[in-house]
Symmetry: C2
Subunit: 308 residues, 2 copies
């Protein structure tokens, strides 16, 4: 095999109460990367589509290629690749755009080389893509994009990541309004301290989310989707956030919050029909103020990246 | 039935990473309360043993009778009781002593009156016993004492409490050193703010504890038993805490931390044999500095209070 095309999914980080520790993958959107072996050991970005010309083609700075380079160094390979990246979601959308690209690239390289590393072992390299994109090697988008499902980053030092089983009938409605929030800005406005009372309330919800997912208790999942720490701050960067959230809840969502650093918003619902209604309700709310928005409805993606 | 004798279990609150939200019940020790119907509507404390004369017999101030009085008011009953309390654990021990008494009392009253309320509905009344004992109506000892098992207090407003299934082979080693820590003091030294980084790490461990318990992943349970927020502060009130913790870990414990506000210390182990070794190791460590200590080993109690 000399060439491979890989899809890696968009992800929702934080998932209401789990700032920097929860993330989940969705079925769509997702980025596509095509890797082709070269006869030399160069990494060359041949083409990028869908980014509006914003992404660098310098392999030492691009989120697809930095993980590949670190990966090749680590396994002592001198392989070279031509790289094509098809962005299928907006940059700075809060959908884990950079993570999807990073995961697609390093997953593709590992497949082309005959899987010298296990899937989970690719995580530290994919995280290097996040460092390029937002200045810190976070794992809450990268881990679910790589592993699929609902993922908890229990610890960074040492890195300890695990998957949580999810109920079959849990659906995600995602909406990306056409306004840009830079992840660095969204992180910058957060405080370095949090009140003990809020931390305790948040830990209660984190517990409820995990227990609710593992026991298919949709009511508990919904009650636990309250974010005392991040949403009150980051929501000020998203026009019409509370109206959109209210529209989602009125349409039957279990809960609704910001996807990652925003401006995308996600909601959980029981059943596809409700999730479709929720997506429509959110879109209609944005349209009342002439903000165009793209919606996606899917289950939680349990497979992670896949070869196309 | 005119008279009833009820046992309610000691409890471990916080359980390492879950400050104010996690609690679990053990098989022993536990307090005993005997209630006997009176012909009038008075609540009279006839006898208290095991408290060294420290507890008040004023029914409006005692942790057993305050919940009973609130409960009777709530259901509109004019029943009266003679009350006998046998304390089977030290006051201010970090073992949920006041909760055990409060739960035993209100549970006994509800049984004698033919169960007008469901078990879970007794929780707010038992919490009033905590308010008498430590100034605030916490639920992290009362809820597991009343419901049994491992309990999460997800929210106080509204009150939302749920049980988490626990692995069969998970054992608790408890040690109560003969030094007193007042819960009010232990709470007073805590800070009102916590760093965002510590809150995030703690939330990761809270997630790991719930997922570990629900999936019988003993390794994950152990890795999650790290408290970044409370243990570093409260442990200074417990002589020899870190040496005792190290002794527990060296003896094979999955994890070890302060029970409630201390000075009692608990450890989790897989299997009774290891849990017994851990208890002995902790006791030996205290004895090197001539601190006498009482140990208890049990599974997590799944029944809560019981009629004797």
């Amino acid at each position: 095999m000399n060439s491979i095309k890989v899809f890696a999914p968009a992800t929702v980080a934080n998932v209401a109460c789990g700032f920097d520790i929860f993330g989940l993958a969705v079925d769509n959107p997702g980025d596509e990367v095509i890797l082709t072996r070269r006869n030399d050991s160069q990494i060359c970005i041949q083409e990028i589509t869908g980014d509006g010309g914003k992404l660098t083609k310098d392999p030492n700075k691009n989120t697809v290629t930095v993980p590949i380079i670190k990966y090749l160094e680590s396994i002592g390979s001198n392989a070279g690749f031509d790289v094509v990246l098809h962005k299928k979601m907006a940059l700075g959308s809060g959908l884990g755009s950079s993570s999807a690209s990073a995961v697609a690239g390093v997953f593709a390289a590992n497949e082309l080389l005959g899987q010298p590393l296990k899937r989970k072992e690719l995580l530290p390299f994919a995280m290097e893509g996040e460092r390029v994109a937002c200045g810190a090697a976070h794992a809450d988008n990268v881990a679910p994009a790589l592993l699929g499902g609902f993922v908890v980053v229990r610890s960074y030092s040492p890195l300890d990541v695990f998957q949580v089983p999810v109920p079959e009938d849990l659906f995600v409605s995602l909406i990306h309004p056409d306004v840009e929030v830079n992840t660095k800005d969204a992180r910058h406005i957060l405080k370095n301290e949090v009140s003990m009372n809020k931390a305790i309330s948040q830990m209660g919800n984190v517990s409820g989310m995990i227990a609710g997912l593992m026991s298919s208790d949709y009511g508990l999942i919904g009650r636990s989707m309250v974010d005392f720490i991040i949403e009150p701050i980051r929501s000020i960067l998203i026009p019409r956030f509370f109206e959109v959230k209210m529209a989602a809840m009125d349409a039957g969502a279990l809960g609704c919050s910001i996807s990652g650093a925003g401006p995308s918003i996600f909601a959980f619902s029981k059943g596809r029909e409700t999730a479709e209604k929720v997506a429509t309700a959110m879109k209609n709310e944005f349209e009342t103020v002439n903000i165009q928005a793209t919606t996606y409805v899917s289950t939680i993606n349990v497979g992670g990246p896949k070869i196309l």
